[in-house]
């Protein structure tokens, strides 16, 4: 066992104080509009987004960010960060990553870990920073294996989506664990594919998801901020 594993568990934990649990990323609208109504349809929505949504754009971007942080290529970090912010499909999705990025930057300071100083210096210079940018910086500085980091990043996302489904559908805890077990089986492959995917093939082109996120902005009764 290594310190890296423990560091990764900390980074991927829902206890990370960034408020991820307050966001559903359009899932709450998918429930409202009847696209998600039970365990099976919730599983399909999250699995499809794992494959075609986050797996197509955010995951390869996180891999590229980790590589850029490892190489101290701060211009590349800034480029990927700006592209990620511009790639967010709705106002709420963009606000989500900016808020979580802000909280991660605060956490960077609060950790009082000298090894993270370069990440703090670079991200502090930007008016806004996206969540995956800071997350990838910490993963790189803590020398976490990039494959493991990407799997953990996707796992955190999947766990958060399933927890949102549990509240919004609602579903029971057992259903949630079944969904996570199924999603978990796909994560290793999605992460490996993401690391191989050249930037020319990155894809955030999932219009029904984008529409769900936009519609959520005017949803009458809601628990989540996205």
């Amino acid at each position: 066992m290594s310190l890296q594993l423990v560091r990764l568990l900390q980074l991927a934990s829902p206890a990370l104080p960034v408020g991820a649990y307050t966001y559903s990323q359009g899932l709450e609208w998918a429930v409202e509009s009847g696209v998600i109504r039970d365990e099976a349809s919730a599983g399909r929505w999250v699995a499809d987004l794992l494959e075609h949504g986050i797996g197509g754009y955010e995951a390869p971007l996180v891999a590229a960010l980790i590589a850029a942080w490892q190489a101290d290529d701060h211009a590349e970090v800034a480029r990927l960060d700006a592209d990620f912010l511009a790639s967010r499909e709705s106002a709420e999705l963009r606000a989500e990553t900016a808020q979580m990025g802000f909280s991660m930057r605060r956490l960077l300071r609060d950790l009082r870990d000298d090894s993270l100083a370069p990440v703090l210096a670079v991200t502090d210079a930007q008016p806004e920073v996206a969540f995956p940018t800071v997350w990838a910086g910490i993963a790189a500085r803590w020398q976490i294996d990039p494959d493991a980091a990407l799997c953990a990043y996707l796992w955190s996302w999947a766990e958060n989506q399933v927890m949102a489904a549990l509240k919004a559908v609602p579903l029971g805890q057992a259903a949630g664990q079944r969904l996570l077990a199924r999603l978990g089986r796909r994560i290793v492959e999605v992460a490996a594919a993401a690391r191989q995917r050249p930037e020319a093939r990155w894809s955030n082109f999932t219009p029904a998801f984008a529409i769900a996120c936009a519609r959520h902005e005017t949803q009458y009764s809601r628990l989540f901020r996205s």
Binding site: Y57, S90, S203, F205, P207, A210
Partner: protein
């Protein structure tokens, strides 16, 4: 349908380019530069709403894009000028026997200038191998409204996009910094097309973008007005205002309903974005 089938007789591939530059002289927007090679052109500058706005209709005489064809359209709108680009008919991407076809759109809008990109829909035939790239470069205070409506397969013929490849890139920058980035690609019959989070089994998707400096202050009022307008066919749709760009999306099965919806949104957006009343281009009625 006159789809060219390279397996029968390989047609020569077109490498066509059109370069347009608009400039403001006095109160008038002039088409200062209009160069082309290959079958892509603008016949003349039109002034349907007075001299301030120059309208250009982009013609592609072969009427469709076959495998191996590469089209480049570049337009620069100089400081203070206002240009409106439209197309006379649907863009068609024919089935390819193998090679990729591409269309690149490079739009530059300089200080205080405005550009409207209001084309008819794009139909991607089953078996096409198409790449569409759109790059928009805005200055700090320039304005842009543009849309694209994509039909996967000839819906009227009951065709779906089951073979081939489609790749898309749309990037909008203001002052060199990205404010909008959408990219992606899929093969025919990609599971994403059937996914409830992807194309949800639909064949027509459209995106309208609108960017102008005062957007953040006007966003709330505009959103309220725009959200009161729905596509006539009841299709899935959504509108959101990002910090630098307002985005409306259509996802359904009727390209005409998508275009009419965008045209109605444009009527509300144009006065806010360009400071001019919305005068629907006559070519939309034909």
């Amino acid at each position: 349908m006159n789809s060219r089938l390279p397996s029968v007789s390989p047609a020569p591939a077109w490498h066509a380019a059109l370069h347009l530059a608009f400039a403001r002289t006095g109160e008038r927007t002039v088409l200062r530069d209009n160069r082309h090679h290959g079958p892509l052109r603008v016949q003349k500058a039109l002034y349907p709403e007075g001299e301030g706005v120059c309208q250009a209709i982009v013609l592609h005489p072969p009427s469709g894009i076959a495998g191996g064809d590469h089209l480049l359209i570049s337009a620069t709108v100089g400081a203070g000028a206002h240009a409106q680009l439209t197309t006379p008919g649907a863009g068609k991407w024919y089935r390819s026997g193998g090679p990729e076809a591409s269309q690149r759109l490079e739009l530059t809008v300089e200080e205080g200038a405005a550009l409207e990109w209001l084309p008819q829909e794009t139909i991607v035939f089953d078996g096409a191998r198409a790449r569409m790239e759109t790059r928009v470069r805005l200055a700090a205070d320039s304005r842009f409204i543009g849309w694209d409506i994509l039909c996967l397969g000839r819906a009227a013929a009951g065709e779906r996009f089951e073979h081939g490849r489609f790749d898309l890139l749309c990037r909008v920058e203001r002052g060199g910094a990205p404010i909008w980035l959408e990219r992606g690609g899929f093969d025919g019959a990609d599971p994403m097309l059937a996914s409830p989070a992807g194309w949800a089994g639909h064949g027509v998707g459209g995106t309208l973008l609108c960017a102008f400096p005062d957007l953040p202050r006007q966003a709330a009022g505009l959103l309220e007005a725009l959200r009161a307008i729905a596509p006539g066919d009841g299709a899935s749709h959504g509108i959101t205002a990002l910090p630098g760009v307002l985005v409306a999306r259509y996802l359904g099965d009727n390209s005409e309903a998508a275009r009419l919806w965008f045209a109605r949104l444009w009527q509300t957006l144009r006065p806010a974005c360009c400071g001019r009343p919305a005068v629907p281009p006559r070519i939309w009625n034909t």
